[in-house]
């Protein structure tokens, strides 16, 4: 291209003009220094300078002229103005479009990565729990049919529940079952596992929800008072009580409650029945005690950590009211670790629900798992454990996303990476 342009310029009159001008220059230079003029040298010099000049001119010309007609970018930019092309391009490029859409915005990207992680965890938990149960030395057929069952009866049982198939086939079925909400029938009682779980899970969740609510309502003000009046009598008393709350085993607390409130004073019913609002009080308190205690401790310590930060000193120096500094500056920044601990402890609470449910004779998911574990009834235990794990993962996911929205520090961090 460059060559073509140069040839073109050389053929035109500008080239001879240039040579002429350089010859003039050369001549005047020699005249000035009173040197002899060699025709040959003069011609050579002039041509060389002219060629250099032509090269520059050609380059300049090339830059100004439109040379991108063979470029991809230009081609597609033109194509993209065509509506039909855009629609058609979605067919091969859908993944790329999604990728771009996700990665263009840091927040969306963060949420997407957390989602992928959650799905990975859920599937891995399924595989892990199934493998443990599969390789257990216990034999469900022998446990259910009894010692006297013949080998054929056992084989019949194994065949009916697919236990005679290979590990990989069973694992695939179990994973598929978890994801499609169809886990087949339980070994004992031959009931639909999914239907049982769907019946029992709401009970556990209701109690867990009220416990969580109770914990937040009690613990955060208590933690705030303790932090505001550090090393005071109230601080010591509250934290002492919180430590006792952390140290009480759920089942013992439940038994003592039943002993006092049901057997001695006849105030509250000892067992839970779904319609009766009075009967939910004791399980909720028992389940929520540990959570209340840890949230109260966390609130206190995270506020105390924040109180020494520089922005608090600044706020005080500006002459803000102490109450305003405490609520608007200290508490707002301290709430972030508190939310994390609530998310994490909620999971622990769902796990611990099994014990509380047993004490109060609640037919929730926890006591369902415990009842089925003696067999071991693989689909029931697998379903119970994995669905609780899924719930916890989703709660933690929600907490993390909430975090990203609430915390400007994290948002700006995400933008920088």
């Amino acid at each position: 291209m460059l060559h073509e342009h140069m040839e073109k310029i050389k053929k035109s009159s500008t080239y001879s003009e240039l040579i002429h001008r350089y010859e003039e220059q050369y001549r005047s230079k020699k005249l000035y220094f009173n040197e002899s003029i060699s025709e040959q040298e003069m011609q050579g010099e002039a041509t060389k300078l002219a060629n250099e000049r032509v090269l520059k001119m050609a380059q300049a010309e090339l830059e100004t002229t439109d040379q991108s007609n063979t470029n991809y970018q230009h081609f597609f930019a033109k194509c993209l103005q065509n509506r039909n092309f855009v629609i058609v391009s979605f067919i091969p490029g859908i993944l790329m479009y999604l990728f771009l859409m996700i990665y263009a915005r840091p927040l969306v990207r963060y949420i997407f990565e957390r989602l992928v992680m959650t799905v990975f965890v859920i599937i891995s938990v399924t595989i892990f729990v199934f493998s443990i149960l599969h390789f257990s030395p216990a034999d469900p057929a022998a446990n259910i049919l009894g010692e006297s069952a013949t080998a054929e009866q056992r084989a019949e049982f194994d065949h009916r529940y697919g236990l005679d198939q290979s590990y990989w086939v069973q694992l695939w079925d179990a994973t598929k079952g978890i994801l499609t909400l169809d886990l087949g029938y339980s070994y004992t009682g031959n009931e639909d596992v999914m239907a049982s779980i769907a019946n029992k899970f709401p009970v556990t969740l209701t109690i867990a929800f009220w416990s969580l609510l109770m914990a937040i309502v009690i613990a955060i003000p208590v933690g705030m008072i303790s932090a505001a009046k550090t090393n005071s009598f109230w601080d010591y008393s509250f934290m002492f009580i919180a430590l006792i709350g952390l140290s009480i085993p759920n089942f013992w607390q439940g038994l003592v409650f039943i002993l006092n409130f049901s057997i001695k004073w006849h105030i509250l019913p000892a067992t839970y029945s779904p319609g009766d609002w009075l009967s939910i009080i004791m399980p909720v308190i028992v389940l929520g005690t540990g959570l209340t205690a840890s949230i109260a401790r966390m609130t206190r310590s995270s506020i105390l950590e924040v109180v020494n930060e520089e922005y608090i000193v600044t706020a005080k120096a500006k002459g803000l009211k102490p109450s305003r500094v405490f609520i608007n500056h200290a508490l707002r920044n301290a709430i972030i670790p508190i939310i994390t601990i609530i998310g994490l402890q909620f999971g622990g609470m769902l796990g611990g629900a099994a014990v509380t449910e047993k004490v109060f004779n609640i037919s929730g998911l926890g006591s369902y798992i415990v009842d089925k574990q003696f067999v071991p009834d693989i689909p029931s235990i697998l379903g119970g454990v994995v669905y609780i794990a899924i719930t916890i993962s989703i709660v933690n996911l929600a907490v993390d996303i909430l975090y990203a929205f609430l915390n400007p520090r994290i948002r700006s961090q995400m933008k920088n990476t």
Binding site: V125, A138, S247, A354, K358
Partner: protein, 496 residues
């Protein structure tokens, strides 16, 4: 009240301690009072009643001491000798078992706080508690063959401990310690093998100070232990933990295992009495002996199921934190899977698969807590491996594993110790919870959860069967939590 006076009150740890002791004593009086008076029949229980009166007197005396202390502090800024002597009367409260006032009285007797003195009187108290609990066996039909011999040894130990308390009360261990003290240190460590670990700690401290010329080691030791010994709640926690450990060892000599496990149908479901302080259960077994033997299991399971994840999780966390990116990602993502299932639920699943017994229980509890330890370790290793001394080791061409285990891990271990102490309590609760569900220790072994399970069946008729083992669990867990909080303050790890 001037600012100086206010400061004197706030600064005084002894004043704070006195207040705590008073509040606890009053709370105990109230608890005993509730037990002493039977509302439905309107009668007073003699044992509880006399205890209430004794504790009420103690609380009043404590209130007087507190008042004198406050006056001293406000007037002179220091506690006067007379007040200190007044509190010496409270030494007698050990006779009714009020360790709170006793420890306070011991503390007041020495003007300047000393690590060795504090540990030595806690050692003496532990020994006294062991002997008094063991003496309850005298009310049984018969005692074990080893009983007399063991008790004689314990009495000797008490005398030795009293001597130690007197010595350390007089000697200032930071200045006037002589090389000859090392024999005392060795003797103390030997007494520690009876289960009274205070002896080991004290002996080591004396040995360190009498033989070591390296001041930085002594300085470090002093810094940590002076913080712990000043923290009375942590010391009380340590006292109960060591007492539980020591009584589990002492029970080999002083308790009769048959009372705890053999059925005796002549004495079923008896009320608490001197022969059976906590009554008997539905098979006529003595609940008190069962609880003492149960302490062994609870401690072993609690400690082992904390140590296993501490080692495995710590190792994985150290590797993940030291090597960046790919190894870190692989390890942490695998541990995330374990982290998603709540500990108890995972334990139930593992026990469902492999059966309920003690070994499986320990494994099940351990697996669930590996991720939390790994996370703690990883965070600390990441912080420490950016420090200069690690870079120096790298520059010297040290091998990676040597850097990790000789430089990085020892310097990031403090939070792990704190975490472990705080989670032993959780492990004890988890053990008894699973036993209560029938998923833990085998039912015939006396374990606190198993005892409670039996007790829960007789809640209406014999509630004490369920209450006493529960109190034992709470006290042990509470002690571990207090100790953990104290350790956190003393080691001051930079927890994330």
């Amino acid at each position: 009240m001037t600012a100086q006076q206010d400061f004197a009150l706030k600064r005084s740890q002894e004043y704070k301690h006195a207040l705590f002791v008073l509040v606890i004593s009053i709370a105990l009086v109230l608890v005993f009072l509730v037990n002493a008076f039977d509302v439905t029949e309107g009668t007073w229980n003699k044992v509880w009643g006399s205890l209430t009166i004794a504790y009420l007197v103690i609380a009043c005396w404590q209130a007087i001491i507190l008042f004198c202390m406050k006056r001293d502090l406000l007037n002179t800024g220091d506690i006067q000798k007379r007040t200190r002597l007044m509190s010496a009367v409270n030494l007698l409260t050990i006779l009714v078992g009020n360790v709170f006032t006793t420890t306070f009285a011991f503390r007041m007797l020495r003007r300047k706080a000393s690590i060795e003195y504090t540990i030595s009187y806690y050692m003496l108290l532990t020994q006294l508690l062991i002997v008094s609990v063991s003496l309850l066996n005298l009310f049984k039909p018969y005692v074990s063959d080893m009983f007399l011999l063991t008790m004689a040894v314990f009495i000797l130990l008490i005398i030795f401990d009293v001597v130690a308390v007197v010595i350390f009360g007089k000697v200032d261990t930071d200045r006037q310690i002589k090389p000859a003290f090392k024999w005392l240190g060795i003797a103390l460590i030997i007494t520690g093998f009876s289960g009274n670990i205070f002896g080991c700690i004290l002996g080591y401290s004396v040995l360190l100070k009498s033989t070591n010329r390296d001041m930085s080691t002594i300085e470090k030791w002093n810094k940590i232990w002076s913080k712990i010994t000043k923290n009375f709640t942590a010391m009380l926690g340590l006292l109960f933990v060591i007492f539980t450990f020591a009584i589990s060892i002492a029970s080999y000599g002083t308790f009769v295992y048959e009372f705890a496990v053999e059925n005796n149908y002549e004495s079923m479901l008896l009320e608490p009495s001197l022969a059976n302080p906590f009554g008997t259960d539905n098979f006529g077994r003595d609940v008190f002996s069962r609880i003492i033997y149960g302490a062994r299991i609870s401690l072993i399971v609690g400690v082992v199921s904390t140590l296993i994840p501490l080692v495995i999780g710590g190792f994985l966390g150290a590797i993940a934190g030291y090597y960046n990116k790919s190894i870190d990602n692989v390890i942490m993502r695998i541990l995330d899977v374990l982290y998603a299932v709540p500990g108890i639920l995972l334990a139930i699943a593992i026990i469902a698969a492999f059966g309920a017994n003690t070994v499986n229980l320990i494994i099940a509890l351990s697996v669930g807590s590996i991720p939390t330890y790994a996370r703690t370790m990883r965070a600390n290793v990441m912080m420490v491996s950016n420090l200069e001394f690690v870079e120096a080791a790298k520059a010297l061409g040290e091998a990676d594993w040597k850097i990790i285990f000789k430089q990085v891990v020892p310097n990031s271990f403090a939070p792990m110790i704190v975490k472990a102490t705080l989670t032993i309590g959780g492990a004890v609760i988890a053990t008894s919870s699973l036993s209560f569900l029938g998923l833990g220790v085998e039912p015939h072994i006396p374990e606190w959860g198993n005892i409670l399970k039996v007790g829960s069946m007789y809640l209406e008729t014999n509630p004490y069967l369920a209450i006493f083992p529960g109190i034992a669990i709470i006290l042990l867990v509470l002690s571990f939590n207090f100790l953990g909080d104290g350790l956190r303050d003393a080691l001051d790890p930079k927890l994330d």
